[in-house]
């Protein structure tokens, strides 16, 4: 091979390689959203929570038309509780808007003629005065239009910014807009839209009826309700969001406020990835992420194990007392390699294997003079000592605490019951055909009290009757502790 041949060959190789590399790169290497060519025109598909519009498959930026209608209407805030919501698109939070970086968004804000008030919209995804609020101040029965270029990819809150702003937001005027990066987000199996917010009502949590907005509480930041997607239980039971075991789930999480920052957490899941603050950076392996009022985050996780996963604001009284709870129901096969479920449940005995003695304070013990009195005093003892395990109706708890109602074990030989009380009971017993293998601690009761309580049990709960005397208890007490 001569020199020229080699040279030509090398040049060809270089060209081929270059072509190959260029071919592998995305079409628009130096994507500049502000200069992206606008190709065609499309109507944006908006979704109600918790749904999210499908990923954008387009190759090019386009003129994207977004129609959003403001509707003021009464809606459910909790069971039996109604609230006049001011909504973007008829729901709280408002409809989810999905655009692509580089798109020219033509935004139409329509204020329904039946509405009382003027409204506007501030989209945090907008670069420009007021985020569009200045261009969209809209009286009832009118429509305003403005356009903006989606320059910064990320997840953004939108909200009404008409005076008084706090009241418009407190009444439900917020939602999320996603600006997908031009190259798209990584594909996942499920995407959901979850937005937290608070409500301030004249009545307290759960007080029924149409509840008006309470300005004083809003100023004090003393929320009655903290909820996901606009109502207590909006994503619970049959409305739970769902996934299959092994799904990669992406939650678009927003916080409409108006006041509180969310400590967003999913019980039993670790976020594999969090686009914290809705931005481009990713944090990995996160338990709880802060979502500020007027802010957002994208969280992703794989659902390794089936079961119900509870979404909460981990400022936990908001979850269990104000409504900030939602359910992600994951179906599929158990995987003991990841999570076994309960393997053992037994009494923990810090003092070793011996039967425990429950300490009790010294009490004045009345002496029963009749069987009726014995039953009456016994009832009190039962309610204070026995019912926690054996239940108020004597039915016990299947598999854990044997019944004392219609109990063959008891009726056949009341001494066994006396013994269980004065000595404690450990090991397997059979009651009404069920086997129990637990531990009953020795009860610190006097002979009189034991006589009373056993007599009470014998004469109640469908048992066969009879009377136990303190002398009988003393006799059993003197015997060795029985183990069967």
């Amino acid at each position: 091979m001569n020199l020229i041949e080699i040279l030509v060959k090398n040049i060809i190789i270089v060209i081929v390689c270059t072509l190959a590399v260029v071919g592998c790169l995305p079409k628009q290497d130096n994507f500049q959203p502000e200069n992206a060519e606008i190709v065609g025109e499309q109507q944006a598909k908006l979704t109600l929570p918790p749904e999210v519009p499908p990923p954008i498959e387009r190759e090019d930026a386009t003129k994207l038309i977004v129609d959003l209608e403001v509707v003021e209407k009464e809606m459910r805030l909790a069971d039996g509780v109604e609230y006049t919501m001011w909504t973007f698109g008829g729901s709280v939070p408002g409809k989810f808007i999905r655009v692509r970086e580089g798109d020219m968004v033509e935004f139409h804000l329509k204020n329904h003629p039946d509405n009382k008030l003027p409204h506007n919209i501030d989209l945090h995804a907008v670069n420009g005065p007021g985020g569009g609020a200045e261009s969209t101040f809209t009286a009832p029965g009118r429509e305003t239009v403005f356009s903006f270029r989606a320059l910064n990819p990320g997840l953004y809150v939108y909200h009404c910014a008409t005076a008084p702003v706090g009241m418009h937001i407190a009444n439900g005027m917020y939602g999320l807009i996603l600006v997908e990066p031009w190259e798209g987000l990584p594909e996942v199996d499920k995407e959901y839209y979850v937005m937290q917010s608070e409500f301030y009502t004249e009545g307290g949590y759960g007080e029924r009826g149409l509840q008006p907005f309470d300005m004083d509480k809003a100023i004090e930041e003393d929320a009655d309700y903290v909820v996901f997607n606009g109502a207590v239980g909006s994503m619970m039971n049959k409305n739970a969001i769902t996934a299959q075991k092994g799904d990669n789930v992406r939650l678009f999480v927003g916080n409409g406020g108006p006041n509180l920052t969310s400590s967003f957490h999913v019980i039993g899941e670790i976020f594999d990835k969090v686009h914290y603050e809705g931005g481009s950076r990713v944090q990995e392996n996160v338990q709880t992420t802060s979502v500020p009022a007027g802010g957002a985050a994208m969280v992703e996780f794989i659902t390794e194990v089936p079961g119900n996963y509870i979404l909460v604001d981990h400022a936990i009284f908001r979850a269990f007392n104000k409504g900030a709870l939602a359910t992600l129901a994951v179906s599929g096969e158990e995987d003991e390699n990841i999570y076994t479920g309960q393997q053992l449940d037994r009494v923990y005995q810090p003092e070793g294997g011996a039967i425990q003695e429950l300490p009790q304070e010294k009490r004045a013990i009345p002496t029963a003079s009749t069987t009726e009195e014995r039953i009456e005093f016994g009832r009190e003892t039962y309610m204070s000592v026995c019912q926690a395990c054996h239940m108020a109706d004597g039915s016990g708890i299947e598999g854990a605490f044997p019944p004392v109602a219609e109990s063959d074990y008891l009726n056949e030989d009341p001494d066994r019951a006396i013994s269980a009380v004065v000595h404690g009971l450990q090991g397997e017993i059979t009651v009404n055909g069920e086997t129990y293998n637990g531990v009953m601690p020795r009860q610190n009761l006097t002979n009189e009290e034991v006589a009373n309580v056993i007599t009470f049990i014998l004469n109640n709960f469908g048992n066969e009757g009879g009377e136990v005397t303190p002398e009988q208890v003393e006799r059993v007490r003197q015997q060795e502790a029985s183990t069967s």
Binding site: L117, N120, A133, A161, T162, P164, D216
Partner: protein, 263 residues
Amino acid sequence: MNTWIRVIILNLFFAGLSVAALAQPDGMARIEGGTFMPFYSSTEDSITVDPFYLDKFAVTNAEFLEFVKANPEWRRSNVKSVFAEDGYLKHWAGDLDLGSDAEKIKNSPVTNVSWFAARAYAQWRGKRLPTLYEWEYVASASHDKPLASRDKEFVQKVLDWYSRPNPETLPRVGQGKPNVHGVYDMHGLIWEWVQDFNTVFISGESRGDQGELKQFYCAAGSSAASETDKENYAAFLRFAFRGSLEADYSVGNLGFRCAKDNQ
């Protein structure tokens, strides 16, 4: 007391009454002048309103029909578009036809009228639209207090109405209790045009507005007295509503009533 004097006093009293009755234009209430504080002001710049007359009721569909009968240029099909946009009187079936609900709506307040049309109606009646301050002054009265902006119950009622969407058909005028001036429905029925609705400017971007509006914004957000805050918000909503209007707009819950100078 001397009988003669008593008779004279009585006569003077009745004479006074009849003079007042003569001076009182039909269907209008005399509003004694007074001073009040708009929600955004401090004590130093409270507003004084001179005595004037104000319609007891908002103008009804039936009354407005008389107006367009007498003034063909204000009929729906004739009106110049600069004076009234497309929605002008859209709840009527035709130029002079209130539609199948005529009986139901004839005594309801007329809405879907532009500011230009409201002003023309007032002139035709030999009246004018009330000024912003006249309207706000009368609106700050409850049924038993001339200045009720700190009356918790009154303020809550006003706020509640702002929070409710419109009913399908507006009720007829004058169903509630009149306020202390004898005027009905200042709250709870419709929004109302005023002469200078756009002198206090609130743009769409309420948080960034400078000057006057900044004052409003602070007023509504920062006061420590909670009842005052609430009233601030009620007034704030009214000012924001007016700020969203142009004089040719026709809005489904926006009507008007007329005023007259005290002469």
